[in-house]
């Protein structure tokens, strides 16, 4: 039976069919839906969890693999940076039960802070990497990765990307194969990476690399498709689909194994074609490898290496081969002066109140990753740096210690705090910092689509569980000034900020209110502007609520969009905003 599945749904299915019994990860676009699908469809057969961060998820996976289970760990590309420590040594130790780490790259940065090519990690860790180009391959490659993992005793990376994870295509479904027996067999020289044994592990890595070099020559994952021989194209992942679209009649060497790269196959292919072109997204790994073999090829000189590829971005190459211009249509002139439409905090979002209050103070604000990153855009415009998960805390501390004349503030979400903000806060407490840390605590991982976390009271499998409190961590980290504030209450929020910013010791403000989009209910009654009282000063427009429509004349509140948080009413100097007479329509 065929079903229309996204790449992420197919990967979840692939893990189930391959007899995986442990699946874990941390949410991150575009990887998030893999574990959500495991939980929705397969949790009776598979244990699954959202771990607090990718490093922990990876380590949970390693433990399960050493016990003999088949394991899948999922994350986005930057998540693998967090999990790089266990990855690098587990790569030497080697897997027992099949271990696949699914890493989703985001070329073009649709929803990421940087662009990274995960193939570099495979090269760095000397482990194999598989790259599916469609949902059908995404499903199949999970099983293939697990087989390779067990045969060669190695972790294997499955590299997907936005256009594989979030594209849907048809997939043939199969049955589940029986999971392996579980039972850890002690063998210290294999599993204890002290120098004595780590040196032996290092030698085994080299032996394994030799065997993997043979595998990539013989595996059907790497295949040559002979068509017209005047041009041959080497490609991998979703780029294969673009190549087939733009060059339907040309020969292709499709590398399902993105690492290590074959030598003989590339030589055979290059000998069979007149000209050789490499089409790969982000870094030129295949191209450099091909050139190092002494084989001339076209690549980065004509295929863009920044951002994601598309049929449109390959068209100029085809046109140039025919001695023409590509002549792709560009945006119509009528679209030239359209207003931008950047993402914004939802109407009724509690983070808006936090930023509106913060705007009253001249402080240096170090931000972090989550919905509240949007506080950097006008009109809120109050977050001055964003680096990586949890960095807000350490950066605020470092800036303060450097002597920044303004008081320093770090703002991060609850999920981000549990992910990697706690150790930063411990540093602030331990090393006698003086920053104010704000945890914008909406009790969910909101940006990636509302996933549970250690503070939400539910596990990925739907069980009720202990609810971790940010405040408890604050006190445990030695932050005596730890307090909880309602971000919808402007005066309370401003008063708390004033006190904490003036105090000569570090503080933690937990701005706590659940994400209304997740709760799926209005914060309060919808609001409306009394046009006779409104003087058109525009103060309410400065909080950037999408429900308040302005841009000429007096602002109006769109009743279909308002979530009734009341923040606009508290910033209106003329008290012109109040609850609507009749609350129409639920959200």
């Amino acid at each position: 039976m065929k079903e229309l599945l996204s790449g992420n749904e197919a990967i979840a299915r692939g893990a189930w069919e391959a007899g995986v019994t442990v699946a874990c990860g941390y949410p991150g676009t575009p990887s998030t839906e893999i574990l959500e699908n495991v939980a929705e469809h397969y949790k009776d057969d598979m244990y699954c969890e959202w771990s607090p961060n990718e490093k922990v998820a990876f380590e949970v996976g390693v433990g399960a693999s050493l016990a003999g289970a088949r394991v899948m760990v999922t994350m986005k590309h930057v998540g693998l940076n967090v999990a790089a420590d266990p990855l690098m040594t587990f790569a030497c130790m080697g897997a027992v039960g099949g271990f696949v780490v699914v890493v989703a790259d985001d070329p073009g940065m649709h929803s990421s802070q940087n662009e990274q090519d995960t193939r570099n990690f495979a090269k760095f860790a000397k482990i194999p990497l598989l790259e599916p180009s469609s949902s059908a391959e995404a499903k199949e490659f999970v099983a293939r990765a697990l087989e390779i993992s067990e045969t060669f005793s190695t972790p294997v990376i499955l590299r997907t990307c936005t256009r594989v994870s979030h594209s849907r295509s048809l997939v043939e479904l199969g049955e589940r194969s029986a999971p392996p027996e579980v039972g850890f067999k002690r063998e210290s020289s294999k599993f204890v990476a002290i120098p004595l044994w780590a040196r032996k592990m290092r030698l085994r890595v080299e032996e394994r690399s030799g065997k993997l070099d043979e595998l990539v020559e013989t595996s059907d994952l790497n295949r040559i498709e002979w068509r017209d021989r005047n041009l041959g194209i080497i490609t991998s992942g979703v780029c294969y689909e673009y190549v087939r679209e733009v060059f339907p009649n040309k020969s292709v060497l499709k590398l399902g194994l993105g690492w290590p790269l074959p030598v003989e196959k590339i030589e055979e292919f290059s000998h069979g074609v007149d000209d050789l072109l490499v089409v790969e997204e982000l870094d030129p790994l295949i191209e450099e490898h091909t050139r190092a073999l002494g084989i001339p090829c076209e690549g980065r000189n004509c295929v863009p290496g920044i951002g994601e590829l598309s049929p449109g971005r390959l068209m100029p190459i085809r046109a140039a081969m025919m001695g023409r211009e590509a002549n792709l249509p560009s945006p119509v002139p009528e679209a030239a002066d359209l207003p931008g439409r950047p993402p914004v905090l939802c109407p009724g979002c509690p983070h808006r109140g936090t930023y509106a209050a913060l705007k009253k103070f001249d402080v240096a604000v170090m931000g972090d990753i989550g919905c509240y990153s949007l506080g950097t855009l006008p009109p809120l415009d109050k977050m001055e740096s964003l680096l990586c998960m949890g960095a807000a805390v350490g950066m605020a501390h470092g800036m303060q210690k450097a002597g920044e004349p303004r008081k320093t503030v770090g703002i991060l979400g609850d999920s981000t705090f549990f992910h990697s903000g706690i150790t930063g806060l411990l540093d602030v407490g331990y090393n006698k910092g003086n920053s104010t840390i704000i945890v914008a605590d909406n009790r969910i991982t909101a940006m990636t689509g509302h996933q549970e976390h250690p503070g939400s009271g539910k596990t990925l499998m739907g069980q009720d569980t202990y609810q971790a409190n940010v405040e408890d961590f604050g006190r445990a980290c030695g932050i005596k000034r730890t307090r909880t504030v309602n971000p919808y209450n402007m005066s309370e929020m401003v008063a708390a900020l004033k006190e904490e910013l003036e105090a000569d010791e570090p503080s933690l403000i937990v701005a706590k209110a659940p994400c209304p989009l997740h709760a799926r209910k209005l914060v309060g009654p919808k609001h409306t502007i009394d046009a006779s009282a409104c003087v058109g000063c525009g103060a309410c427009l400065k909080i950037g609520c999408p429900a308040i429509e302005g841009g000429g004349g007096k602002p109006m509140i769109n009743q279909n969009l308002c979530w009734g948080c009341g923040l606009c009413a508290s910033v209106c100097p003329k008290n012109a905003i109040s609850e609507s007479e009749k609350a129409e329509g639920a959200q």
Binding site: P339, P342, P343, I548, G550, G551
Partner: protein, 191 residues
Amino acid sequence: MSDTTSVIMVGVGGQGILLASEVLARAAMQAGFDVKTNEVHGMAQRGGSVMAQVRYGEEVHSPLILEGTATALLSLESIESLRAAHYLKDGGLAVVNTQRVIPVTVSSGAAKYPEDDAERVKKVFPKLKAIDAVAIAGELGNIRAANVVLLGALSLGLDLEMEHWAAALDGAVKPQFRELNQKAFEAGRNL
């Protein structure tokens, strides 16, 4: 592939573009075609411009549409249609919701929403169905069905049978919304 039908869908995050693309994809699958879709999640869903793409035919390779080749365009918002107009092939059908969703860049005074959006849309798309889908859906009882009204209007421009659309609609929405969505689809189709 020249026998491939490509539909580009645009709008504002939260308007229901994902459901629209899912229904079309399912209808094409019902009709026995190979199908690929693409959509963007994450940051882009917080009220920003969003795009989804659906392609079907004998054998579909790329999930992304080549500029200038889309068979049809469906826009859930007035000016968003203009941003994506260059994806549509010459003479392609454009189904455009007349609803304006005001971006914060306009509310904050940093930019202007064009007054002449309707004229621009008319000029750019010679084969246009401009529809006040929110009003139609509102009459049917729920403005959230505006996306399905537009889908109904789009359906006449595509080579899929009513039975495939009906099955796709039933498969994509929760039972309690089935009747509403069937009505919304028919309303769009009968315009």
